[in-house]
């Protein structure tokens, strides 16, 4: 099909302001009489708060307010389990937890003031390892867990705040049929999103008493909802506006300082700005969950997968945040893009006295994917099969099922695997100490809701109201392309109105790789609705049959008589002033079909999901066997996106995701000493820089999805997911050692070369528990 805008890499609608430095981010905004807020954070991982003395800080000139839990409503918040207070109430559960907050005339005074707040603590026993935390005698981190409100029927026990289980077929029978069983325990680490812009917010109260929050966020409505539930303010009294957001990668979906900012604004009546320092980002942000994963894969001698069992332990830290979702989704994806008839996957989301983990590109999938894709290569070795062939033998084909028995029609995994491998000349001879590895990825892009209004203005230009957040991934451009395509209008005629809860209809966050698929569907349907109304009006005005009309160049006219027609301008004016009323196309899109067969599900915190997307990452590495250093030689990342609406943008997501995956695999790790982060800076937490980037070939695979807009599916997350296992597999291919815990540091590689046995703690107790 021929499209005017779809499939074209037009300049992104927001690039020019970003290129000139005029784009405004949270820290670029200020308001008259604005105060700086600063958070006092816990220095203990687990302690009772005995007493807080604010008096010294209050006497510091320039200090306008100091708040503690006593000064604010006792609401608890969180996306799945409402377990987190705005400021610690009674006790602290991690080093970095907000205990008090100060508003002062400037940043320096606020910083000085929090140092004058004296907190007396009574330390409690702490637990940092989720495996320890699951023991019956472990210190309880949330004594009141059973009383917390959960948005889903959570399965809970001790420090396990959510346990999700998926069972299909009969694993005992499945493993009996297996000619080969591989079994291993893996460990993954804590990675930080490291968006370049630190999180922040500004809260102020308008003369009517409405609270206005400028929020660096991936979801304006999520900020609205969390502030509402935590401070017990009706949503009707909260307006959230987002400026440009300097990256998020999941870390800015949920609120961070927003409720604190609001509480300080309420206390002082003045605008309050809080922007995190980079150190606070690392110590009190929302990083990727560390995990310990035990997995077992059963295969027939010919390589056919017959059974898989996995137990995933996600360390969610002191609060559940997105942990139940991450654990549930990561476990749902743990089968991988393969047919496995007998399956049992258990995910445990476990509290510990560390910074809370949350959403981060991949949402549990990078962790389970690392274990799953490593196991496949271990099996390939035993069967003496090429790992690529073993994957291709078991890969899903159109008509196969998801976990939960949805039929998936659009499946491009085979093509992704083949093309990524081809790009590396998979079967060609390799140099010394060089190896190739591949990993397959499945993910989803259809989840929850987006709603959109498309208005035809008096002059025939278009207003698109949609609550989506473009945080750099390009959704504003893609959604604008969709409106332009459906109405045949130029891009500059479209006014995209998002970023404001008072102006845009409800939309869940920028998350789950979903804005092209879920958001694209909503915007397309709303635009079609507006178009039909335009045609209806034109048909009445022209006294012609609607089917005999066509749209071109902002004009609706009779197909065989182009002279007989009305311009969008005329129609807009007529609708607003004369007849029919203003044209507003609308769509409230919710992903509801196909539903999961939930008979084998327990404790899964989501409704249905769809828009399945597939990817394969392949790498060639060279290992320096004296230093253990892994050098990336070449890489390929192939993605089934259904239909690329903006190919350049697709490549940008593939490349960006891959490099973030490189950091995850090789160099990035938040390191703790007990409950304290010991590398909270870019000096000690190393993300890839320009000189570290290997050649990466982005490959676009288009397995048209008839449920997506123009056949499109999503993309954002999978680019990262397969990188770490592909590298681990390549290292094995190069030098015959298997790295089972991330990140793959030179030291671990060298230890493995020397045959040092790495035992990841695991006992069968965990298995018997479930």
């Amino acid at each position: 099909m021929d499209y005017q805008y779809i499939g074209k890499s037009i300049p992104k609608v927001d690039s020019a302001q970003k290129a000139t430095g005029t784009a405004q981010y949270i820290n670029d905004l200020s308001f008259p009489n604005m105060l700086w807020g600063k958070v006092l954070r816990s220095i203990y991982p687990h302690a009772e708060i005995v007493h807080i003395d604010k008096s010294k800080a209050e006497r510091l000139p320039g200090v306008k307010a100091i708040i503690t839990a006593q000064d604010i409503p006792d609401g608890l918040y969180g996306p799945f389990i409402k377990d987190e207070p705005v400021l610690a109430r009674g006790k602290v559960r991690y080093i970095g937890e907000p205990v008090a907050a100060v508003a002062a005339i400037d940043r320096e005074t606020a910083e000085e003031a929090i140092q004058l707040v004296e907190v007396e603590y009574d330390e409690l026993p702490s637990v940092f390892d989720p495996l320890e935390a699951m023991k019956s005698d472990a210190p309880l981190i949330h004594e009141d867990l059973s009383s917390y409100f959960c948005i889903f029927p959570a399965v809970q026990e001790g420090n396990v705040c959510s346990r999700t289980t998926f069972v299909e077929g009969d694993i005992q029978q499945g493993f009996k049929e297996a000619g080969l069983i591989v079994e291993e325990t893996f460990r993954t680490h804590m990675q930080h999103q490291s968006y370049m812009e630190p999180s922040g917010a500004i809260a102020l109260i308008d003369p009517s008493g409405k609270i206005i929050i400028h929020s660096s966020t991936q979801g304006i409505f999520i900020t609205q909802s969390r502030v509402s539930e935590s401070l017990k303010i009706p949503m009707s009294k909260i307006r959230v506006i987002a400026p440009n957001v300097g990256g998020g990668f999941g870390g800015k979906i949920e609120t961070n300082v927003q409720p604190i900012c609001v509480a300080l604004a309420q206390k002082t009546g003045l605008p309050i700005k809080v922007v995190l320092t980079r150190e606070e980002e690392f110590t009190a942000g929302r990083p990727r969950h560390p995990t310990t994963i035990w997995g077992k894969l059963g295969l027939k001698k010919d390589g056919t997968f017959v059974a898989k069992e996995m137990i995933n332990i996600f360390d969610t830290g002191a609060y559940s945040d997105d942990g139940p979702g991450v654990t549930g989704f990561g476990s749902l994806m743990a089968r991988g893009p393969y047919r496995i008839p007998n399956l049992k996957i258990v995910g445990n989301c476990v509290y510990t006295n560390k910074v809370k983990s949350g959403a981060f590109r991949g949402f549990g999938n990078p962790q389970t994917g690392f274990a799953s894709e490593s196991l496949i290569d271990m099996a390939a070795k035993e069967l003496n099969m090429d790992p690529l062939d073993l994957r291709l033998k078991n890969a899903l084909v159109p008509g196969d099922h998801s976990v939960g028995k949805q039929t998936i029609h659009s499946v491009g995994i085979m093509e992704c695997l083949k093309k990524a491998a081809e790009a590396l000349e998979w079967k060609q001879k390799k140099g010394k100490c060089r190896g190739r590895g591949i990993a397959a990825v499945n993910h989803i892009s259809g989840l929850l809701t987006v709603s959109a209004f498309v208005r035809i203005n008096e002059d025939g230009t278009i207003s698109l109201h949609v609550g989506t957040m473009d945080i750099g991934q390009g959704s504003d451009t893609i959604l604008t392309q969709i409106v332009a395509e459906e109405l045949g209008v130029p891009l500059e005629d479209i006014n995209l109105i998002s970023r404001d809860t008072d102006a845009a209809p409800y939309t869940w966050a920028t998350s789950a790789s979903r804005l092209t698929y879920t958001g694209g569907n909503a915007v397309r349907l709303a635009t079609i609705d507006a178009r039909e109304q335009l045609l209806e009006l034109a048909s009445k005005q022209l006294d012609e049959n609607k089917d005999d009309l066509m749209i071109q160049n902002k004009k609706i006219f009779v197909k065989w008589d182009p002279e007989k027609g009305l311009t969008f301008h005329q129609l807009g004016a007529i609708s607003c002033w004369v007849k029919g009323g203003p044209i507003v196309g609308k769509s409230s899109f919710m992903v509801e079909t196909p539903p999961f067969d939930r008979s084998g599900f327990s404790g899964f915190p989501f409704g249905t999901m769809t828009g399945y997307i597939f990817a394969a990452q392949a790498v060639e590495v060279e290992v320096d066997v004296e230093t253990g250093k892994v050098k990336m030689i070449q890489c390929a990342s192939a993605h089934d996106v259904g239909h690329a609406i903006h190919p350049q943008n697709v490549e940008g997501q593939i490349e960006g995701g891959f490099v973030q995956g490189l950091g995850y695999a090789l160099t990035e790790e938040i390191v703790f000493d007990g409950g304290k982060v010991i590398n909270p800076s870019f000096a000690d937490y190393k993300i890839p820089m320009a000189m570290d980037i290997p050649p990466i070939t982005p490959i676009i695979v288009e397995a048209y999805d008839e449920t997506g807009p123009y056949g499109a599916k999503g993309l954002g997350e999978p680019g990262l997911v397969g990188v770490a296992p592909a590298i681990a597999n390549a290292i094995y291919d190069a030098i015959g050692v298997r790295i089972k815990d991330l990140p793959i540091t030179p030291e671990k590689v060298l230890d493995a070369i020397k045959g040092k046995k790495v035992t990841i703690p695991w006992t069968d107790i965990w298995k018997k528990n479930f």
Binding site: A19, M196, G247, F249, R278, G652
Partner: protein, 153 residues
């Protein structure tokens, strides 16, 4: 606490400002001069979003005390486009899809400018070195390299 009077030459304009000795150039640019295109990302010289040019060379404005500029000529992102006409590097960044969230973009473009001013036809390796002081978390850098190559042509 004593403020000092300093002269700053920013984007060809001369400013006379009084500052405390501990104020960084970043703070002065953003807070005194309202030049918000220069960003703050880590405040300790690691991320590069605060990059500005000092006498044509990229420096960290978060590590440079304003009193220490001492007559040097500062160029910020606001000094690149003239009367709304984008600099060729800015155009190349847009055209090549080198901009995602945009937070690293001003610093990245300034580093690219310094690189191309000193070396109009850099190799890819020279581009990587030239941009190595600027972290980007969105793009994976590849489209940025292409944009700089594009601007060099």
């Amino acid at each position: 606490m004593v403020k000092q009077e300093i002269q700053l030459d920013v984007n060809g304009k001369s400013y006379s400002i009084s500052v405390f000795p501990q104020e960084t150039l970043l703070e002065v640019l953003r807070e005194n001069l309202g030049l918000i295109g220069t960003k703050e990302g880590c405040s300790e010289g690691e991320c590069g979003v605060c990059t500005v040019l000092l006498d044509g060379l990229p420096v960290r404005s978060c590590l440079l005390l304003a009193v220490d500029v001492r007559g040097g000529k500062i160029t910020t992102i606001e000094g690149l486009s003239e009367k709304g006409v984008l600099h060729p590097i800015q155009k190349a960044f847009i055209e090549h899809g080198a901009i995602q969230c945009g937070f690293c973009t001003p610093g990245m473009i300034l580093s690219a400018k310094a690189l191309l001013d000193g070396n109009p036809f850099p190799s890819e390796e020279e581009i990587r070195i030239g941009l190595s002081g600027n972290l980007c978390r969105c793009t994976g850098y590849i489209k940025i390299f292409k944009a700089v190559q594009g601007a060099a042509l």
